[in-house]
């Protein structure tokens, strides 16, 4: 009996001493700062870190601040332009790489598409800046959109590729077998089954674009400031409760998008 107990004691990870404590510390470290930030966004004091009472004051101020509104609109313009473009390109890349049969450099191309995920962002940022500068392209927001489209492609590509790989290739053959030509097979079978993957790729690209700071900071000229870049410039002046408020709103929006992403991902996997 005794030996059996000893054996089963460490079978599960939660049987290790201190497991619960470590977990709590880990999650606390991750989320307590964010939680405090959100709490203080409802602080009525004009000092960021002294609690005086509950108020929507800073949110109200936010909505009367033209600069923040312009930056927010810029962020949305960029994300709504870059994320769909990146998703379309990623969808075609995934179709070619997964369903295109064997061709030269197939594996290589697949790696090349996802490589930007591992390249330090500052390198991409500087390279993009030099690229635009040397070609003399200075189109304001369009520069930002181009840059965002490019670095969002791998993020959109991954879930789409995963969805396509999980799809039974015989489904398309079955449709072809049942008198469906290539176009209508794509429309009636491939695309509907791929939609959750495409949507989750889009969500991911969208969040990454809305969130991006380093590349945007390098590429965005005057008048093309996005929200993260604007927040950074606000923080440089000192942390005001307004920053807390705008960050909280961004957080809420991201959680919303990620929830959608999770929802679509679940649909792929069932």
């Amino acid at each position: 009996m005794q030996t059996k107990n000893k054996k089963t004691k460490f079978r599960y990870v939660w049987n290790f001493p201190g497991f619960g404590g470590w977990t709590a510390i880990f999650f606390g470290f991750l989320y307590i700062p964010i939680f405090i930030l959100v709490c203080y966004s409802f602080n009525s004091s004009k000092f960021a870190m002294i609690w005086t009472g509950f108020s929507f004051r800073w949110y109200a101020k936010l909505f009367s601040n033209d600069d923040i509104q312009t930056a927010t609109i810029n962020s949305f313009i960029v994300a709504f332009a870059a994320a769909p473009l990146a998703t379309i390109i990623a969808t075609f890349s995934a179709l070619a790489l997964v369903r295109g049969g064997e061709f030269r450099f197939r594996e290589f191309s697949s790696g090349l598409i996802t490589l930007p995920l591992m390249v330090p962002e500052i390198v991409t940022a500087v390279a993009t800046l030099i690229f635009f500068a040397s070609l003399g392209i200075n189109l304001g927001l369009i520069n930002v959109i181009i840059a965002h489209t490019v670095f969002c492609i791998p993020f959109a590509f991954m879930p789409i590729k995963a969805a396509l790989e999980a799809m039974d290739p015989n489904l398309e053959l079955a449709a072809r077998d049942l008198y469906s030509d290539k176009t209508s097979t794509f429309k009636t079978i491939t695309l509907p089954l791929l939609t959750p993957g495409i949507l989750s790729g889009f969500m991911l690209a969208f969040v990454i674009s809305i969130d991006d700071f380093i590349i945007t900071l390098m590429v965005a000229g005057g008048g093309a400031t996005t929200l993260p870049v604007y927040i950074y410039s606000m923080v440089k002046m000192g942390v005001s409760p307004e920053v807390n408020a705008v960050s909280s709103l961004m957080l809420a929006f991201s959680i919303f998008i990620v929830t959608l992403y999770w929802f679509f991902n679940r649909k792929i996997n069932n």
């Binding site: 064997e102 039974d168 015989n170 489904l171 053959l173 079955a174 449709a175 072809r176 077998d177 049942l178 008198y179 469906s180 030509d181 209508s184 009636t188 079978i189 509907p192 089954l193 069932n270």
Partner: protein, 359 residues
Amino acid sequence: MMEKKVNAIDVRNVTKIYTSGNTQTKALKSANLTIYDNEFFTLLGPSGCGKTTLLRLIAGFEDITEGSINLFNQEIVNLPPNKRPVNTVFQQYSLFPHLNVYENVAFGLRRLKKDASLVESRTFEVLELVQMKEYANRKPNQLSGGQQQRVALARALAPEPKVLLLDEPLSALDLKLRQAMRFELKTLQRETGITFVFVTHDQEEALTMSDRIAVINEGEIQQIGEPEQIYESPSNKFVANFIGEANLLSGVCKTPGENGVCELDTGHELNLFVPPHIKQNDKVTIFIRPERIKIEKSSKDKSQLSISEFTYLGNAATIQLKSNNQLINVNLPIEDLKIFKKDDYVDIHFPKESAQVID
């Protein structure tokens, strides 16, 4: 009264080579066969033998390397799958997961641009045929394996194909269901009058369901014939071993010719037909099924054969006889179970028409 048979499928010198990188795999080597209209035809062989490749070539999922395939005397190798009047039942059913049962079954009819009223009546007709009418609104993932199987059958039958191709459709089902489905498939083929081409690696399935069987190994067709022919007179050692149990015993030809005599290495003499290319004192291999061998009790001084293994099977028993390094398998009928036991000395008889010289 010989009815004139109509050729449904003619496979002529079909070769299929898969190329991946620098390696080439010959999946089919110059295969020839004819499948008649209204026939339940089975392609039987071990996995990787090329049977599925042949089916996919008929369906149009693969490009042919060499040769031709005719469907009712019309060349089809250059037609895409959607232009071939054949339908396939896939091994894993491959039902469209985002469509309900009704839409799955109606899919082919809709692609053929049939009238809405005809689509509806035909869809319900086939669903009725496979007893799945009350499940029309379910999604495939709400069905059991057997039900999905029926829907897959209905989906392939709905457009009234000239030939139905079935790629190991029963292999994903459990044993009880598999046995029940055998009869259903057979009945379905009789009722619809559609030519079935059935791929399987299960010899029992092939023997019970088929009108004719083609045994395939390593890309080559070994034998084509009715189940009884394939079982009783296999054309080579592979077929003999692959279909059922077989004793392949070595011996020497004593008298060649129609009423020949061969002597086994065990010392037993057999009367049987010896094919003309075998001469006196040639080494031969004799094929005989375990259930054909008759045994009777003997004693140590009369016989060198003793029962070395006795395996009880409930409704029968198999025994193994050992002599001069040759093993002979014999099936005992139920009424003989009590008579013999392990280490008994026995004598054996080979009925003339049941033994055969094999290459």
